[in-house]
Subunit: 249 residues, 2 copies
């Protein structure tokens, strides 16, 4: 029987997971998906994900695919999986995709949001999905700083240690900084991201917003091409993968 | 030494608590507050709260008071307590109040928000602070239904079983129903609420929004003066006590 490739849009609360990718010690999103698919289909299934988000990072729209010869209609997998998945993972849609579609190797644009709760005291009901930062932040300066990284640049300074990549050149297509009340939203879109890149953007913009260095210093950080030049890696809980747009498939 | 009365504004994520009020079996917000105050002051302290929220209900601004002869400046208690409290409880402010101020017996207006996530599939990152409801809801009808309970009424139909009150007459001063994207926000203000009253409002408005009965049926529910006439009690996770305004103190 012909195998079909099924694509899933996956939302999750990353708080209690060791990230996306299956690993030996610890529960992962991919591991839970594989487990529920095996339960449903009666055979081992290995999903392939678009973004291997880190421990504690959330998603509204990560994408995964798997192959099956099951007769379950493609759009029904969302319902069948949601009945089996833990409540902090929910499939948002399922559909058949072309057999050669691989969400990691297809050209795509990802959009991430980093949320900073900027007020005097932490708010318990926001703590899991934002990073609490006490000192007042200047959003205008952060916005100006963000403008320096838009475009095609060598982002070596914004690449976490331990990454194994051929090139650290990436294209950032958009970066907005907005404040709504006490929450600051950083939204970054780009064609692929380096390890920890958005969290280092966030940690660096916080230093700009706090006046540690001026927005123009972003250019020097880019030019330095070494991790030590940028700010710290902001905590995982503030980061959410909003969605992925595939440019060819 | 003269005792001072200190007022605290308390925010919490109620997910992991058996509600506000101290009880023998289970961790409560008041219990954690009392424990941290005892740790800080070296003597047993009993706080008095404005609203004894149920298990699973959240708050941005519940209010509690306690008496102490400590020399800690009143406004410093927020910092000192936040260092000791678990991360799902945070004092938002502390200040001296008059010795006869009792947050439960002072005339006050409380504002609650009930959040309903109305979309096809649940969203993991919203699940702890909203009630997920799959079927499309008609917000216009819900708003019309809400208008029936504004004012001074006998709310016996909206009073949970097991409540011990002399009168079930209460004054609802405002009730708004707004949709922002996939989230519906019910905001209710009033001078005191009966047991489960806001959650029964929410459960009933959901039935109106779903077309089970028309908005005008709210009048019959009020007139019936019995719990069975109204809709179900909506789940605790959707409810947040936003704040309390004291009208005399």
């Amino acid at each position: 029987m012909m195998k079909k490739r099924i694509g899933l849009t996956v939302a999750y609360d990353g708080t209690h997971y060791c990230g996306w990718q299956v690993q030996d010690n610890g529960t992962t999103i991919q591991g839970e998906l594989n487990r529920c698919l095996e339960e449903l289909l009666g055979q081992p299934i290995e999903t392939m994900g678009a973004s291997r988000t880190d421990a504690g990072v959330h998603a509204l729209g990560n994408v995964a695919v798997f192959d099956t010869d099951s007769r379950i209609p493609p759009e029904k997998f969302s319902y069948a999986l949601n009945q089996r998945l833990p409540e902090d993972i929910r499939i948002q849609s399922s559909q058949e995709v072309t057999p050669d579609f691989h969400p990691r190797y297809c050209e795509s644009e990802k959009t991430y949001e980093y949320r900073i709760l900027n007020r005097r005291f932490s708010l318990p009901t926001e703590r899991l999905y934002s990073y609490f930062y006490h000192y007042p932040l200047d959003v205008e300066k952060m916005r100006e700083a963000a403008s320096y990284v838009i475009g095609r640049h060598d982002f070596a300074s914004f690449c976490g240690a331990g990454a194994q990549v051929k090139s650290t050149v990436r294209l950032v297509t958009g970066f907005s900084v907005e404040r709504e009340g006490e929450m600051i939203y950083l939204r970054v879109s780009g064609r692929g991201f380096l390890y920890h890149m958005v969290r280092i953007f966030a940690g660096t913009l916080i230093e700009v917003g706090n006046g540690i260095y001026p927005p123009e210093h972003m250019q020097e950080i880019l030019d330095a091409k070494e991790r030590g030049a940028a700010g710290p890696t902001a905590p995982a809980c503030g980061l959410t993968l909003l969605g992925i747009e595939f440019l060819e498939s």
